[in-house]
């Protein structure tokens, strides 16, 4: 798919925290092309027909059915969307691949995991790092679904500390092959894959190395039993044992010692795609909850009319809307960055790699935010269903169990929180994002006389955009002062990093929501976007509350005396509304709209 490259300068990864974005520069789901809309309908139809209609088969651990659905997905071309055309893929842009990932994932976490593991971490290491021969040999088979892929990184002793794996690769005496020995665990798709991406250490290397290993039981590869899991029950998850498994030297991925880099970069893509995979699940769960709340009567009243239920439904819809807004904003940034790099003469491979890596901060932000939103959404969904929600008969129970893994895989949310801030600081040190200048300015502002300029509140989102600008100052104040105080030691202060990360996450999500809505209000009219405007305001209100709490927590943890007082005053000033929104009215407005539509109808 051709990518239109914006002539304007595209925001670099992480720059959102120091720069203002024009709403016309963000991509929204309302900008999908007719072709993308048709793709969305196709994927939805597949999901409804093959996945949702057979939910019980997934819940009864029918691994064969997961494989069958993967084959059907291959026939329909869903597995080849991101694969370049020269390797028999469709070579579509990043937004389209996100779109397919989003809508194919909501029927069952089992299928979603199988799909993500195959198309993402099972295939992408080869398309991104493989040699021409490797790509020609393996990628067409993976794109068509003739073969399925799996990614072997985690080991019993190497989870979040992925580079500490004990699996070894030893070069044979004649130099023709490596012998791999070791144990990998939690390997998605292990039961039906034909190809493993395996990470192993050669000798005493500091870093691990990646290998492409064909699944051949005759070659020392054995599988453990299927793991019995809380959720994603029909995702085949097994241990994989390598016992003197011979791998030709030409099957080494990239260079010796490059495995950790491959693993991390594959995870960047995996993170944003995982966020996408959680989006339609939220939409679906919210829809189930709305339908039920409209139908279910207590005290001779449909429960949707009760404020306690309205509040939940409004929050569920709002978080979903925010997730969608932020994911596609980032996805288009990545797509444009890839296009720019290709135009600058980079190979497609390199452009894609660097394009995604550029937005690694946003990928981590989205992974954390959306995986927690789907968890909350399904939890509240169960609550709305009451006792029925606790029963296996309703889809809420499996949605809740399936959602849980999203906070664990592709790097735990704890790791991703610290990565988000850590990578941003690194970007600043490399000069890619100027944090120091704006942070210094905030420091000066704290000591100066507060500005009494007020925006024109009659303009849509004038107050909210002013607040977003001030919230960014909160981050700069907290993270900047902490970095100054602790220097390289900052990464030891995990609670502080986590608080700073929460501030960063909320800013990105709230700003994306406001920008999308502002853009749409301009083209479709404020009246047509009334509910979306309410959702953007509600999201920001919640974000401000959380940022206040996390900011305070962070400041008190490292500042004392006058410095602490000054920063707390700053926090108060930066998070203050001129006109507080009536959030009860906002929630009621949102809930009434979705109740009347009997569904979430915003994207």
């Amino acid at each position: 798919m051709s990518t239109e490259i914006a002539t304007k300068e595209i925001l670099r990864g992480g720059q959102f925290i120091v720069k203002e974005t024009d709403c016309e520069d963000v991509f929204t789901p309302e900008d999908f092309s007719e072709e993308q809309q048709m793709m969305r309908e196709s994927v939805k139809e597949f999901n409804d027909r093959e996945i949702v209609a057979h939910r019980n088969r997934f819940e009864s651990k029918d691994y064969g059915y997961t494989e069958e659905c993967m084959r059907k997905a291959g026939e329909l071309g869903f597995l080849s969307v991101a694969v370049p055309e020269e390797y028999e893929g469709l070579g579509m842009g990043f937004v389209s691949t996100m779109l397919v990932c989003e809508y194919i994932s909501s029927g069952s976490g089992s299928f979603s995991t199988a799909f993500g593991a195959h198309t993402g971490i099972g295939t992408m290491p080869i398309t991104l790092y493989g040699t021409e021969e490797q790509k020609k040999k393996y990628v067409p088979k993976l794109a068509s679904g003739e073969w399925f892929g799996a990614y072997c990184l985690t080991e019993p002793g190497a989870g979040s500390d992925a580079n500490s794996g004990k699996t070894t690769a030893t070069l044979s005496e004649d130099g023709t092959h490596y012998k791999i020995n070791g144990q990998k665990m939690w390997i998605s798709n292990a039961g039906f894959c034909k190809l493993f991406i395996v990470f192993a250490r050669i000798g005493d290397d500091k870093n691990i190395t990646g290998f492409i290993v064909e699944n051949d039981p005759e070659n020392g590869i054995t599988l453990g039993e299927e793991e019995h899991k809380l959720g994603i029950r029909a995702s085949s998850t097994r241990q994989v044992f390598f016992n003197d498994t011979k791998v030709p030297v030409e099957n080494m991925l990239s260079e010796r010692g490059n495995g950790f880099k491959i693993a991390m970069n594959a995870l960047n893509v995996g993170r944003i795609k995982l966020a996408a995979a959680c989006l339609d699940s939220q939409r679906r769960v919210t829809n189930y909850a709305i339908n039920y709340a409209n139908e279910r009567q207590q005290f001779k009243t449909p429960i949707v009319q009760f404020g306690a239920i309205k509040s939940k439904l409004a929050e569920m819809a709002t978080n979903c809307y925010a997730g969608v807004s932020a994911c596609y904003r980032a996805a288009k940034n990545i797509e444009d960055r890839i296009a720019i790099r290709i135009a600058d003469g980079n190979s497609h491979q390199e452009a894609e790699l660097k394009g995604v890596e550029e937005y690694a901060v946003e990928c981590s932000i989205l992974k954390v935010a959306v995986s927690e939103d789907i968890q909350n959404c399904s939890d509240e969904g169960i609550q709305i269903f009451g006792g029925m929600g606790f029963s296996e008969e309703t889809p809420m129970e499996s949605a809740w169990r399936d959602a849980r893994i999203a906070r664990i895989y592709e790097g735990t949310n704890e790791i991703n929180r610290m990565l988000a801030v850590g990578m941003l600081v690194k970007k600043a040190m490399k000069g890619h994002v100027d944090l120091l200048g704006p942070a210094t300015a905030v420091g000066e502002e704290l000591m100066g006389i507060p500005s009494f300029d007020t925006p024109d509140f009659s303009v849509l989102f004038a107050e909210e955009k002013d607040l977003i600008a001030r919230l960014k100052k909160v981050f700069l104040m907290v993270a900047g002062s902490a970095a100054q105080k602790f220097g390289a030691e900052l990464e030891q202060h995990q609670q502080l990093l986590t608080a700073a990360s929460d501030i960063l996450i909320e800013i990105y999500m709230a700003e994306s929501t406001i920008l999308r809505t502002e853009k749409n209000a301009k083209r479709f009219g404020e009246e047509a976007q009334a509910t979306q405007i309410a959702m953007a305001k509600l999201y920001l209100y919640n974000a401000v509350e959380l940022i206040n709490q996390k900011g305070r927590e962070g400041i008190i943890s490292f500042a004392a005396g006058d410095e602490q007082k000054m920063m707390l005053m700053g926090l108060k000033r930066f998070t203050k509304y001129a006109n507080y929104p009536n959030v009860v009215a906002l929630r009621t407005q949102i809930a009434d709209k979705i109740a009347a539509d009997n569904g979430y109808t915003f994207d």
């Binding site: 048709m38 309908e41 196709s42 329909l76 071309g77 469709l90 397919v100 109808t601």
Partner: protein
């Protein structure tokens, strides 16, 4: 030269060799001609199918009316291929794949119907025709489509037996009548061999098997194929749909025979009355006096 040929040909005379050469060239020329002829015959024998598509609201749409209840409110409504037409399109795709038919799709509508046409192209239709006008009544639509059929020389025309929006159900019948073509309505099975079609038709309490010569108009429905046979456009099909022809033709002058005066929604359901299972008298009383059902 002669000596040279004799040297290489041994026992064969020069005349004999010359005649062989002539036969060889004649064969080449004839093969080319027969090849051309075969292609022409094959082209002529390739069944040409037109599937008439209605662009209708998705079945889950909320139905509202505007302009004093005289117009359907399309705001927020998603449009799809009319389900009865989709069964026909899928059947046409089977003909294409098994018997080599050419499949075109046609609809009457403004530019807003093009996504629906492109879906039909993504499913596998070879070409689409949009008659550039807003459809009014069944007679109007049938006149427009009949013109396309006449100009396109179609052997088989498949339309849904009715569209699920206004439930008209007149288009295929009127079209067949205007074109003087055979017509089978409520068709639930269709086979074509050469110039002959065998159609299965749903009738009260059973099925009717019919034979008819092409050209033929079918009013199709579920049964032509089953729901599970309906095709999801694959990603490559969607990408290829961009490159296929979507021809826009101007409508012919054909007045509508009817005008919509007003739409009404069914009255909202009243509260349910529960009658105790032992109280049959009260049930009869309510059915007789209140519901006036017995």
């Amino acid at each position: 030269m002669q000596a040279k040929i004799a040297k290489y040909t041994g026992y064969f005379s020069l005349d004999f060799l010359k005649s062989i050469k002539k036969i060889y060239y004649a064969c080449i020329i004839n093969l080319g001609f027969y090849g051309y002829l075969c292609r022409e015959i094959f082209k002529h024998n390739t069944m040409k199918i037109l599937v008439c598509i209605s662009n209708v609201p998705d079945t889950t749409s909320k139905i509202n009316f505007t302009e004093g209840d005289t117009k359907f409110d399309t705001n927020g409504v998603q449009f799809v291929i009319n389900p009865n037409d989709e069964f026909g399109l899928t059947r046409a795709m089977w003909f294409k794949e098994k018997q080599g038919a050419a499949v075109h799709v046609a609809t009457v509508g403004d530019a807003s119907v093009e996504p629906t046409m492109r879906k039909a192209l993504a499913i596998g239709a070879d070409e689409a025709i949009r008659i550039n006008t807003v459809p009014t009544d069944g007679f109007f639509v049938a006149r427009q489509l009949a013109e396309v059929v006449k100009n396109g020389g179609y052997d088989l025309v498949i339309a849904g037996r009715e569209s699920i929006d206004y439930n008209g159900g007149m288009v295929p019948g009127i079209m067949a009548s205007l074109l003087g073509m055979n017509f089978v309505n409520t068709c639930i099975g269709l086979e074509v061999e050469g110039n002959k079609a065998t159609a299965l038709r749903e009738i009260d309490g059973g099925k009717e098997k019919l034979e008819a010569n092409l050209p033929l108009v079918i009013g199709g429905q579920k049964g032509l194929v089953e729901e599970s046979d309906l095709r999801i456009p694959n990603m490559r099909g969607i990408m290829m749909a961009r490159k296929k022809a979507l021809n826009v033709v101007e409508p012919i002058d054909a007045p509508s025979q009817t005008n919509d005066q007003k739409f009404e929604k069914p009255a909202a359901k009243g509260p349910v009355k529960l009658v105790d299972a032992d109280n049959v008298g009260e049930l009869v009383n309510l059915l007789h006096n209140e519901a006036k059902a017995i």
